[in-house]
Symmetry: C2
Subunit: 131 residues, 2 copies
Amino acid sequence: MNAGTLSRGIVLFAHGARDGRWAEPFERLADKLRALAGPDTAVSLAFLELMTPDLPAAVAAQVAAGCTSITVVPVFFGQGGHVRRDLPLALDACRAAHPGVQIRHAVPVGEDDAVLDALASYCLRQLGSLG
Amino acid sequence: MNAGTLSRGIVLFAHGARDGRWAEPFERLADKLRALAGPDTAVSLAFLELMTPDLPAAVAAQVAAGCTSITVVPVFFGQGGHVRRDLPLALDACRAAHPGVQIRHAVPVGEDDAVLDALASYCLRQLGSLG
């Protein structure tokens, strides 16, 4: 991130896994989002467990880079304990650490109808395309 | 499922969670896929853990309903141990139990570029739309 030119940030919050290759789709997603959001928007990944950075570290890095408004998007399909319980606790810690920064969160990606449509289309294509 | 009219099936393989509400997006996805795939295609959910049915039970139900070709789609973003290790073991068990049925599997939904595009679009919309 380029300190001084950033005003807003988006943090993609994902579960994390032991296998480093697990994060590859999230890195591709972050790259796509950087291209869409433009140079004044910081885009970071954060993980609940097993990978770094965690959410407080990712938010702190964006604040240090100049972001005054940060949006956290849970890259989870469903709303289980991680989204309903762990995420709010982490958000509370972030807001307490950065009282002058607006820190918002979205509903998980799996709630979005267009995302579900893309998933359904992918599934349908698999019926015809596998050997 | 309506025995006798089904020839192929698709099983959406997801992680599972303790909170029953977690499965709601997967149920919506299955409904969308049923509408797209038509009445000759069985669409089922299966879970790795914490929810039922598991993959062998979901596959057995589709076989009992008449499916002779079954496609398993991992509804996971990343390829960690669940997709690289647990899923192949479950698929092996399914193939051993139903040697006359073609059981294929797709790469996880998170590998699909159109899915990632839909995720990136959702994330971008969150930058502008939250209060």
